[in-house]
C-alpha cells in the first residue's frame, strides 16, 4: 500500500508537529496570562485594581492587547538599517521559543497500549514522552539558544539608529555575557550531582537523590542561578537595557506595533524558560514526591498530575518575578557589572569547587 508506507514514514513527524503545536500553545497561553497577572499583581501591590474592563476581571485583556498590537501603525525609523531592523524581533522571539522543544512537560506515558492505531502505526511504540525532542545535551541546548537570544536585543539597538537604543543594545550584550558565566557556573553543580545534561535525566536524578530536590544541596547554586536569571531576562532589578527612566525604552524605543509585540512576547517567554530551568534543575521538575504511591508510574493520571505540578512550580517562579519587579529598584550599570563579576561569579565558582570536593569524597 502506497498510502500506508507514506503514512508510516510521516507519522513520527505528524506526532512531533502536534506536540510542538501543543507545547507552543501551552506556553503562549501561560505567557499571555502572565502579562495579565503581572498587571494585576502590580496593581494590587500598588493599591490599584489592574485591568478589569475586558471580560470578567479583565481575563480577555491579553487578546485585546494582541488586537491592538496588530492594528497599530507600524513605524519604521527613516535612517534605520532596514534588514536588521526587521530581523531583530524575529531573532528575539525565535530564540525565546526554541527551548520549548526540550521542555520536560511531564513523565513519559508508558502504560498505554498504542496498538489500537490503524495501519500498525502503534507497533513497537512503548512510550509517549512528554518532551518534544530528546536531546541529551538539553541544558547546553537551552543555554546555547538563550545566549543567541541576545542578538535580538543587540541588533535591535544597533539598527534603530537611535542613541537610546544603541545604549540599550550595548548594555544588554554586556549584561548577558557577564551573567551567562555566573549562570553557567551555577548549573555545573547540579549537572555534576545529576551526572547528565539531559533535562529529564536531571529530574530522574533528583528523584533518586537523597534530598529529592537539588535546591537543598545546591542552594548557593540556586540563588546564583535565580539572580542571573533575572539579569538574563532583563527583568527588574536588572532591566537596564530597557530602563524607561533613562533610556526611554532602551533597545525597543523605536519599535512599535507587532514588532514591539514580538519583543514583548520574547521577554515573557524567556521568563518562562528560565523559570522552567530553575524548576527542572533545582525543584525536581515535574516530580511530585509520593505521587508514585497514588498512581502507577507511567500512567496518564500520573503524567497529568506531574504536569500540573510542573506548571505550578513555574508559575510560582513567575509570581516571584512579578513580586520582585514590584518591590526592588533598578541597579546602576557599574553596580550590575561589579555584582556579576566580583560577587556572583566567584560565589558560583566556589560552589563548583565545593561540589567537586563533596562529589569526589561521596563517590569514593
Amino acid at each position: 500500500m502506497e498510502f500506508e508506507s507514506i503514512l508510516k514514514t510521516a507519522f513520527p513527524f505528524i506526532v512531533i508537529s502536534i506536540g510542538v503545536l501543543m507545547g507552543f500553545q501551552i506556553v503562549l497561553m501561560i505567557v499571555a496570562y502572565t502579562v495579565l497577572g503581572e498587571r494585576k499583581l502590580l496593581g494590587w501591590m500598588q493599591g490599584r485594581i489592574g485591568p478589569n474592563r475586558v471580560g470578567p476581571w479583565g481575563v480577555l485583556q491579553p487578546f485585546a492587547d494582541l488586537l491592538k498590537f496588530i492594528l497599530k501603525e507600524d513605524i519604521v525609523p527613516d535612517k534605520s538599517t532596514k534588514f536588521v531592523y526587521f530581523l531583530a524581533p524575529l531573532v528575539a522571539l525565535t530564540c525565546a521559543l526554541m527551548p520549548i522543544v526540550v521542555y520536560p512537560f511531564g513523565p513519559a506515558i508508558t502504560t498505554v497500549d498504542w496498538s489500537f492505531l490503524p495501519y500498525g502505526l502503534g507497533e513497537g511504540v512503548r512510550a509517549l514522552p512528554l518532551t518534544i525532542a530528546k536531546i541529551d545535551v538539553g541544558v547546553l541546548f537551552v543555554f546555547g539558544i538563550t545566549s543567541v537570544g541576545v542578538y535580538g536585543i543587540a541588533l535591535a539597538g544597533w539598527s534603530s539608529n537611535s542613541k537610546y537604543s544603541l545604549m540599550g543594545g550595548l548594555r544588554s550584550s554586556a549584561q548577558m555575557i557577564s551573567y551567562e558565566l555566573a549562570m553557567g557556573a551555577s548549573v555545573i553543580g547540579v549537572v555534576m550531582l545529576a551526572g547528565t545534561l539531559d533535562l529529564n535525566g536531571i529530574i530522574y536524578a533528583q528523584q533518586q537523590s537523597t534530598f529529592r530536590w537539588f535546591i537543598i544541596p545546591q542552594f548557593i547554586g540556586f540563588f546564583v542561578f535565580l539572580i542571573s536569571a533575572f539579569a538574563e531576562t532583563n527583568r527588574t532589578p536588572f532591566d537596564l537595557p530597557e530602563a524607561e527612566t533613562e533610556l526611554v525604552a532602551g533597545f525597543h524605543t523605536e519599535y512599535s506595533a507587532l514588532k514591539f509585540a514580538l519583543f514583548f512576547m520574547a521577554e515573557y517567554v524567556n521568563m518562562f524558560t528560565v523559570s522552567m530551568m530553575c524548576t527542572v534543575l533545582f525543584l525536581g521538575g515535574w516530580y511530585v514526591p509520593g505521587l508514585s504511591h497514588i498512581f502507577e508510574v507511567g500512567s496518564i493520571p500520573y503524567a497529568v498530575v506531574s504536569h500540573v505540578a510542573f506548571i505550578g512550580k513555574i508559575c510560582a517562579f513567575l509570581v516571584l518575578y512579578i513580586w520582585v519587579r514590584g518591590t526592588l529598584p533598578r541597579f546602576r550599570f557599574d553596580q550590575l557589572m561589579n555584582f556579576g563579576w566580583k560577587f556572583l561569579l566567584p560565589v558560583a565558582l566556589a560552589n563548583v569547587i565545593f561540589t567537586i570536593i563533596v562529589v569526589f569524597f561521596v563517590n569514593r
Binding site: L193, G195, T196, G201, A205, Q208, S209, N363
Partner: protein, 518 residues
C-alpha cells in the same frame, strides 16, 4: 546517583613529575600575578619571582636530564627526549634574559610588571609544552598559549600606535597561520586516525602502511608547513615579521625573535622529523618526505636571501634585526632539513641537536644585542634608527664593543657562538650528501657573506662615524649589566668550549630514558 560507566574509562596517566618544569613556570606566573595584585608597583620583586621560577624550572629540568623518566607519559602526550630538554633550556634562558632586559623598559614605560611577567611566564609555559608535546593537541595548545601571550605583549605599549599596530598585525596574521596549522593537523588526523605523533609515525613506518588517505598526509603536511612557516618567519610567510618586530616594545621583540621562533622550531622538528619520518621501503612515505624536504629546502633558500637582502636596506635597527632573524630562521632551517634527510637515527639526533644549539647561540647573541638596543632606546623606542648610534663607539665603549661582538656573532665570525651554531647546522645538512642541500648550504654561506654588510654597518656607525649631536651614555643598570655579562661570556663560551653542551644536546646516552611502564 552516579551514572558514570567506569568500564569504558581509559586509565589516566598523570605523571606530574614529568611536567614539573612546565608546572613550575605556570605556577610562578600565577604567583607573580597574585603578588602584583596584593603588592602593586614592586617591579623588582615580581621580576625576581619570575627569575626564581625560571631558574627552579631549569634546575628541575637539569635533574631530569640524567634521571629516570619515561619516554612518553600522559597517555603519550608528553615526550621526554633530548629535543624537549635542549629546547626547554633555550626557552628558559630566553625568558630569564627577557625579564632582565625588561627591567629598564618596565620602569621607563610604567608597565604593569606583574601582569607582564605573568604573561611572559605563561608564554614560556606554552613554549615548553610545544617542545614537550608529542600530540598535535598539546602542540596546538602550547602554540596558542604562546601566541596569545605574545600578541598581548606586543601591544603592551598601549598609548603608542606603533605598538598597537604591531599587535594587531601579529594577532591577525598569527591566528591566520594558526588556522592553516590547524587545518593541517585535521588532515593529518584524517589520514591516520590519530593525533599522537608516535602513533602517526608508527603508521607511516609500518610495512603495510595502514594510512587510510595517504593523499591527505601530503595536503596536511603542506598546510602545516604554512602554519609553522609563519611562526618561524620563513619566506614567503615572513611578511609580518619586520612590522611586528619594529612596533613591539624592544624587550618583547627580543623575546619574540628568540623564544617563539625556537619553540616553533621545536614542534616543527617534532612533527615533521619525528612524526612524518623518512622510511625507506614505504613508497608513499618516502614520497611525502621528499616533497616536504624539497619544498623546505627551496623555501629556506628564499628565506636566507630575502632576509639578508632586505636587512641591508633597513635604517631601523630593530627592523634590521627583524630581517636578520628571518635570515637566521633560514640558517636553522638548513639544520632542520639536515635532520629531515638524515640517514641514521644518530645523524638525525645530531642534526636536531644542531638546530637546538643554533637557536641557543642565536638566543644568547640576540638577547645581548637587544639588551643594548633597549638600553639605548628612549621612551616609546624613539632611538632605534641607525643614525642614533652614530659615533657612540668610543663614548660608551663597553656597550659598543659588546654590541659589535654580538653583531659579529650573528654574522658568524669564528671564535663566537654564531660560528659554532652555523658550522653545526651546515655540517648536519651536508652530512646528508644531497645535492639540493649542498646548494642550500652554499646559498646560506653566500647569505651570511651578504649579512656581513649590515652587521658591519652597526659597527661602522658606532665606531667609524662621528657624532654631531650631544649624547649621554645611559647608565648600565645591574640587570642589563648581568645580561651583557652573560651574553658576552655565553658568546665566547659557546664559541670556544661548547663541546660538552653539544654532546649533551645530541647524545641520547646522556639521558637515561626508560620506556613508559604501560
Amino acid at each position: 546517583m552516579n551514572m558514570f560507566l567506569f568500564a569504558e574509562l581509559t586509565v589516566p596517566d598523570p605523571n606530574v613529575s614529568v611536567i614539573l618544569p612546565e608546572m613550575i613556570v605556570a605556577v610562578a606566573g600565577v604567583i607573580v600575578m597574585l603578588y602584583d595584585s596584593f603588592f602593586p608597583k614592586q617591579r623588582a620583586v615580581s621580576g625576581a619571582i619570575a627569575i626564581i621560577g625560571l631558574a627552579l624550572s631549569a634546575v628541575v629540568l637539569a635533574t631530569m636530564w640524567g634521571g629516570n623518566v619515561p619516554a612518553t607519559s600522559w597517555n603519550g602526550m608528553i615526550a621526554h627526549d633530548n629535543l624537549r630538554l635542549s629546547f626547554s633550556f633555550v626557552f628558559l634562558f630566553v625568558s630569564a634574559m627577557t625579564v632582565l632586559i625588561s627591567t629598564v623598559w618596565v620602569e621607563r614605560e610604567n608597565v604593569p610588571a606583574g601582569e607582564y611577567h605573568a604573561l611572559l611566564l605563561f608564554a614560556t609555559f606554552g613554549m615548553m609544552m610545544m617542545s614537550a608535546g608529542n600530540d598535535l593537541v598539546i602542540i596546538f595548545l602550547g602554540l596558542e598559549t604562546l601566541s596569545i601571550a605574545t600578541y598581548v605583549m606586543a601591544g603592551l605599549r598601549r598609548a603608542d600606535l606603533k605598538s598597537n599596530e604591531s599587535a594587531m598585525k601579529y594577532f591577525i596574521l598569527g591566528s591566520f597561520a594558526s588556522a592553516f596549522l590547524l587545518y593541517g593537523m585535521a588532515l593529518i588526523y584524517g589520514a591516520t586516525g590519530s593525533t599522537n605523533l608516535t602513533e602517526i609515525a608508527g603508521k607511516i613506518a609500518a610495512p603495510n602502511f595502514p594510512v587510510n588517505f595517504p593523499a591527505l598526509l601530503l595536503a596536511g603536511g603542506a598546510m602545516m608547513v604554512i602554519g609553522f612557516g609563519f611562526k618561524i618567519a620563513m619566506a614567503p610567510f615572513h611578511i609580518w615579521t619586520p612590522d611586528v618586530y619594529e612596533g613591539a616594545p624592544t624587550p618583547v621583540t627580543a623575546f619574540m625573535a628568540a623564544g617563539p621562533k625556537a619553540a616553533a622550531f621545536a614542534s616543527f622538528l617534532r612533527v615533521f622529523v619525528l612524526g612524518l619520518p623518512l622510511v625507506a621501503g614505504v613508497q608513499a612515505s618516502g614520497y611525502l618526505h621528499e616533497s616536504w624536504t624539497t619544498a623546505l629546502a627551496v623555501m629556506a633558500m628564499v628565506t636566507i636571501i630575502v632576509g639578508n637582502v632586505a636587512a641591508i636596506m633597513q635604517d631601523n635597527v630593530k627592523r634590521m634585526l627583524a630581517y636578520s632573524s628571518i635570515a637566521h630562521a633560514g640558517y636553522a632551517l638548513v639544520g632542520f632539513i639536515g635532520a629531515g634527510m638524515a640517514k641514521t637515527d644518530q645523524a638525525r639526533d645530531e642534526a636536531i641537536a644542531s638546530v637546538a644549539f643554533y637557536m641557543l647561540t642565536y638566543a644568547v647573541t640576540n638577547m645581548g644585542a637587544f639588551a643594548i638596543v633597549t638600553l639605548l632606546s628612549q621612551k616609546n623606542d624613539r632611538r632605534t634608527q641607525f643614525e642614533d648610534y652614530n659615533g657612540i663607539g668610543f663614548k660608551s665603549p663597553l656597550l659598543a664593543f659588546s654590541l659589535s661582538l654580538f653583531m659579529l656573532s650573528l654574522f658568524g665570525l669564528p671564535l663566537t657562538a654564531g660560528f659554532m651554531g652555523k658550522i653545526l647546522v651546515f655540517s648536519s645538512a651536508l652530512g646528508s650528501g644531497n645535492l639540493l642541500v649542498t646548494a642550500l648550504v652554499v646559498v646560506a654561506v653566500i647569505g651570511s657573506a651578504i649579512s656581513a654588510y649590515y652587521y658591519l654597518r652597526m659597527i661602522v656607525v658606532m665606531f667609524f662615524r662621528e657624532r654631531t649631536t650631544e649624547w649621554i651614555a645611559p647608565k648600565i643598570t645591574t640587570a642589563i649589566g648581568a645580561v651583557l655579562v652573560i651574553a658576552v661570556i655565553g658568546v665566547f663560551y659557546l664559541g670556544l668550549f661548547s663541546d660538552g653542551l653539544i654532546q649533551r644536546f645530541s647524545r641520547p646516552g646522556a639521558a637515561v630514558i626508560t620506556k613508559a611502564e604501560k
